[in-house]
């Protein structure tokens, strides 16, 4: 398995277990991972930490993932930071909504932890 992940990743996820899983997988691959537990927290952590990539859960308390993404994309600093939507909503239109909000990609839950590092690496390389 290729490692070599560098850079900061912000994982926005309200479910602790899910969040920790992603954190563990990515940390294990060498990424620096910052966590946020809801939408507001995400905006705060993003401004503070300036991550290179954001994994964004969509159904979040307070502000949902679409809204957080939309707000981030209005900021100059985050225009080029890829935001990848993570969602259990496998509904038609979720992908479109996520892309419309400014997400650079889309990973549906449940996450395949064996593929996740590779997906993250690819998104980072693309930008």
């Amino acid at each position: 398995m290729r490692s070599g992940g560098t850079g900061k990743v912000l994982v926005v996820e309200d479910n602790q277990d899910s969040r920790e899983l992603v954190v563990k997988v990515l940390t294990n691959k060498g990424y620096t991972v910052i966590e946020a537990v809801d939408g507001e927290d995400a905006l705060k952590k993003a401004s503070e930490e300036r991550p290179a990539l954001i994994l964004m859960d969509i159904s979040l308390p307070k502000l949902d993932g679409y809204e957080v993404t939309r707000r981030l994309k209005t900021m100059e600093d985050f225009r080029d930071v890829p935001v990848i939507a993570l969602t259990a909503h496998a509904m038609k239109g979720d992908r479109e909504k996520a892309l419309a909000a400014g997400c650079g990609g889309y990973i549906s839950k449940p996450i395949n932890i064996r593929e996740l590092p590779e997906q993250v690496r690819r998104f980072m390389e693309e930008t």
């Binding site: 277990d17 899983l21 038609k92 839950k109 449940p110 932890i113 064996r114």
Partner: protein, 896 residues
């Protein structure tokens, strides 16, 4: 001519008659003419003979004395006396010696006769003296004559001049002009013919008139009435005036009309009854259906949410298991690894289930939207099939793809088509142990009008697997129907694959079906559109007016009802919403044609359509529309009517509360009772008791089969509340369960359809009830009698007891009680004899409480119709309970 005669019986008879009379008259005229001519000739001959005889007598003496002047005078007298008669006397060589016309004297006789035969006869006569009996006819200068000849014989008186040698001295020839006779005959003939013709005319006219009056007219009237009858006029009858065959025909016709009308009335009543029954059932069903559907949609949204909630923990389970398996936090031993892999495998299966449930619920909730593109069939199938290559190789199977040249593209959502194929191919692989799988694509003939190009492509996946039993094919596409539960252990699966496949196919307006032979294999086929239009939603709904007309015609209601911007569940209704039943498997989901077709009833009436071989759930378009109508029209008007009437008429009339979920039934009761009572209609059982408490109706009529709360419940509740228990309740229902009704306290029980007079009479009867003071107990068992009597005496009633029918009758004669408690199982004079007596004028209105050991039979109930206030079964209750029940019955009755 022939046809003119054929058209009327009168004309035919007239013609036959005219011909007959003409033949008879013709014969008569002919006979008369022939006979008349003969008679006339005989008469003239006789005249000639007589003239000859007198002339001869006159000239005999002058001849013998040779007095020629006397002879001439004699002839002259004849000439003067008779017209058109010539008399000639000639000698034996035919020389005329005397003649009435002197110019003929000394001429020869044969010159005056043209008839050759006559001349010969004359010659013979003059030689032999034999007179010819036959006269001769003679025609001279257009005039007809009759000629008679008479010999003048030689007598001894003549010997002195002529000697004795000659036998004949000469002859007398009389020539009579017969023209007059003939013209008289001709005149007679003409007269005869004229009279005959007039006679024929008169007779024929008379007979014709009689025929018309006695035969034709009544038959025409009969035919006319028969035609009216055939057109549905049941009031026809024929006026019968005679006892002849025509009269019989008329009477038979009238009898037939009466019979058919009565049959027809019976039939109508029966149809009305059945319709009412059907309607009640339909309403119940509709309600159940609606609730089911609501439940169904609730379930769908619940499942959608649930699936989402389920995925979150699944995410962790799968993720952390994978972490462990991958040894991220350090190695696991072999056994632990095995266990973890089992967890991972089952977690995958669970996830698959969740995904399928989510898919299914999305399809059912109608939340799947298609991303329609032109799709390369070959490429799509190859892509999906290739993912099965490892499994196929592992099982040692073969896979063959076959594509017809004439089909390359379909219009469909790529992901969905792949999902369908995935489901079907994975099934084929799963259930096949040896052999192979054939995937074939071609054109479908479904829905193709001859001469037009095909609409659908058809894809079939055929395997050589275990096959499906015929009886299972029906439910194959149902949810969770892996057919034999044991197969679940053998073949993993969620049991939702085929339902999802069907849902997705139907979303594409396609159909899916299967043919299979057990042990030989299965063949699943589905269709996808090759024309984009098939998938396009109609841009505009059908214009309201046309839709309204269609609906009005179908439901036989005024078109205004549908034009008055209808709403359903608070929303305005557009045409397509009429048919949008929410079932994605509904084949009529779409084109305007199918919408109209659906509106016109085939589909929404629930008939399975052969063109759709898969099992379809049927739309309920009609139900929605019908309910809509009921609500917007009848319910509203009825309820406003109620309010209006309530304010103005409550004070005036007694109130009857009619409880029936069918507005039409209430309308009928209103029609029946409206003149004398104020009828308050109520469509639901739930509010009945409160309403009854509020308005205190004199009588309640109650339907049994009602949704939500049925009549039995309403009745029990009415009878259990002190405020309403005294209100008499008449059950009016299609359900014939009198026993239950009476035992629950109904005052009377009528089975629909009810006649106006019956209902009025029942209500009047009930109203007439008076407080009960005296009670007559008629019971065969003395113990039982005294028990009841004691109990009632304690309650303050005046009690008379009778042990048998005879005593009962006697007791009634002595004093008429307010109430009779009657045991129907007495031995001597049994209860039924008493019932017979009860019909007598004296006690016809006394109410009854009936005691019986068995279920009351129909006949008895009918005999006592309207009078039974309660039925108590002996032996069914304990003694106390029985007495309590009885007291309650009487109290209830007495209270009013």
């Amino acid at each position: 001519m022939i046809s003119f005669i054929r058209k009327r019986l009168g004309r035919t008879i007239l013609t036959v008659l005219a011909v007959s009379v003409a033949i008879v008259m013709g014969t008569e005229i002919y006979v008369r003419l022939f006979q008349g001519t003969t008679d006339r000739i005989a008469m003239m001959t006789r005249f000639g003979n007589e003239l000859a005889a007198t002339t001869y007598a006159g000239i005999k003496h002058p001849m013998s004395v040779g007095d020629a002047s006397a002879i001439k005078k004699q002839l002259l007298d004849i000439r003067e006396a008779t017209e058109d008669v010539e008399v000639f006397i000639c000698d034996f060589d035919q020389t005329i010696v005397y003649a009435t016309h002197e110019d003929k004297l000394q001429t020869r006789m044969q010159d005056s006769i043209n008839n050759r035969e006559a001349v010969q006869t004359l010659t013979g006569l003059l030689q032999t003296g034999e007179q010819s009996q036959k006269p001769f006819e003679e025609e001279v200068a257009g005039k007809r004559y009759l000629v008679t000849m008479h010999p003048i014989m030689n007598h001894p008186d003549c010997f002195h001049c002529h000697g004795a040698s000659r036998k004949v001295l000469g002859g007398m020839i009389i020539k009579m002009n017969s023209a007059q006779t003939y013209s008289a005959m001709a005149a007679g003939t003409k007269r005869s013919i004229l009279i005959s013709l007039l006679g024929i005319g008169a007779i024929v006219t008379l007979i014709y008139a009689m025929l018309v009056r006695l035969v034709s007219r009544p038959i025409e009237v009969l035919a006319d009435q028969a035609n009216r009858f055939a057109d549905g006029d049941m009031s026809v009858s024929v006026d019968v005036r005679t006892d002849d065959e025509i009269g019989m025909l008329g009477r038979s016709f009238n009898y037939m009309v009466t019979r058919i009308s009565s049959f027809s009335r019976e039939l109508e009543t029966e149809v009305a009854r059945r319709t009412l029954m059907l309607r009640e059932k339909t309403l119940l069903l509709e309600r159940a259906n609606r609730e089911l559907r609501e439940l169904d949609s609730l379930k769908s949204s619940f499942l959608a949410n649930m699936s989402h909630e389920l995925r979150t923990p699944m995410n962790s389970i799968i993720g952390y298991t994978d972490l462990l398996i991958d040894g991220v936090d350090g190695p696991v031993n072999e056994e632990q690894g095995k266990s973890l892999r089992k967890i991972a495998h089952n977690a995958d299966h669970l996830l698959q289930l969740i995904n399928d449930i989510l898919d299914m619920s999305k399809i059912e909730a109608g939340r799947v939207e298609l991303d329609i593109k032109s799709l390369d069939i070959r490429k799509t199938v190859e892509q999906v099939a290739s993912t099965f290559q490892p499994a196929i190789t592992r099982k040692g199977l073969t896979i063959t793809l076959s594509f017809d040249d004439d089909v390359s593209h379909v219009y469909a959502d790529e992901e969905k088509v792949k999902q369908i194929l995935l489901n079907l191919i994975s099934n084929a692989v799963k259930f096949t142990a040896e052999g192979g799988i054939v995937i074939q694509a071609g054109l479908s003939s479904r829905g193709v009008i001859p001469g037009e190009s095909p609409l659908f492509a058809q894809l079939c996946i055929e395997d050589t697997g275990v096959g499906i039993k015929e009886e299972d094919i029906e439910k194959l596409f149902d949810k969770f129907s892996q057919l034999d539960m044991s197969t679940i252990r053998q073949y993993e699966g969620t049991g939702l694959g085929l339902s999802i496949a069907r849902g997705l196919v139907v979303l594409h307006k396609g159909v899916i079906w299967v043919s299979s032979a057990i042990g030989k294999g299965s063949r699943f086929c589905f269709t996808l559109p090759i024309k984009k239009e098939l998938l396009e939603k109609p841009a505009t709904p059908i214009i309201e007016e046309r839709m309204a007309e269609g609906l009005a015609a179908f439901f036989k209601k005024p078109v205004e009802l549908f034009l008055s911007s209808p709403t359903y569940a608070g929303k305005p209704i557009q045409c397509w919403e009429y048919v949008h039943c929410g079932q994605t498997s509904c084949p009529a989901y779409g084109s305007p044609e199918s919408r109209c077709w659906l509106m016109h009833g085939t589909h929404c009436k629930g008939i399975k359509i052969a063109a759709y071989p898969e099992k379809v759930d049927f739309c309920k378009g009609c139900e929605i529309i019908e309910r809509l109508m009921l609500e917007s029209a009848e319910f509203r008007t009825l309820e406003t009517q109620d309010q209006a009437q309530a304010t103005e008429a409550i004070a005036r009339k007694k109130t009857v509360m009619a409880i029936d979920d069918n507005p039409e039934a209430i309308e009928i009761i209103r029609k029946y009772l409206g003149e004398e009572y104020h009828v308050v209609g109520l469509f639901r059982g739930e509010s009945a008791v409160d309403m009854a408490q509020e308005i205190k109706p004199a009588v309640i009529t109650l339907d049994i089969m009602m949704p939500e709360k049925d009549g039995w419940q309403v009745l029990q509740e009415l009878k259990s509340r002190p405020e309403t228990q005294d209100i008499p309740v008449i059950i009016i229902s299609i359900v014939d369960e009198k026993q239950t009704g009476f035992s629950l306290g109904a005052a009377d029980y009528l089975v629909k359809p009810v006649e106006k007079q019956v209902l009025l009479r029942k209500i009047k009867n009930i109203e007439k009830k008076s407080p009960v003071n005296s009670v007559l107990i008629v019971d065969g068992e003395p113990d039982s009698t005294s028990l009841i009597a004691d109990a009632l005496k304690k309650s303050g009633y005046q009690v008379t007891a009778a042990c048998n029918g005879e005593e009962a009758i006697k007791a009634v004669r002595d004093s008429v009680p307010d109430l009779i408690i009657l045991d129907l199982t007495m031995s001597e004079v049994n209860g039924f004899d008493v019932i017979d007596y009860m019909k007598s004028e004296q006690i016809r209105t006394v109410p009854l409480i009936v005691l019986t050991q068995k279920d009351l039979n129909e006949v008895v109930i009918r005999q006592l119709n309207g009078r039974i206030r309660g039925v108590l079964q002996k032996g069914r209750l304990s003694q106390e309970a029985f007495l309590e029940e009885l007291r309650h019955n009487i109290d209830t009755w007495s209270a009013g």
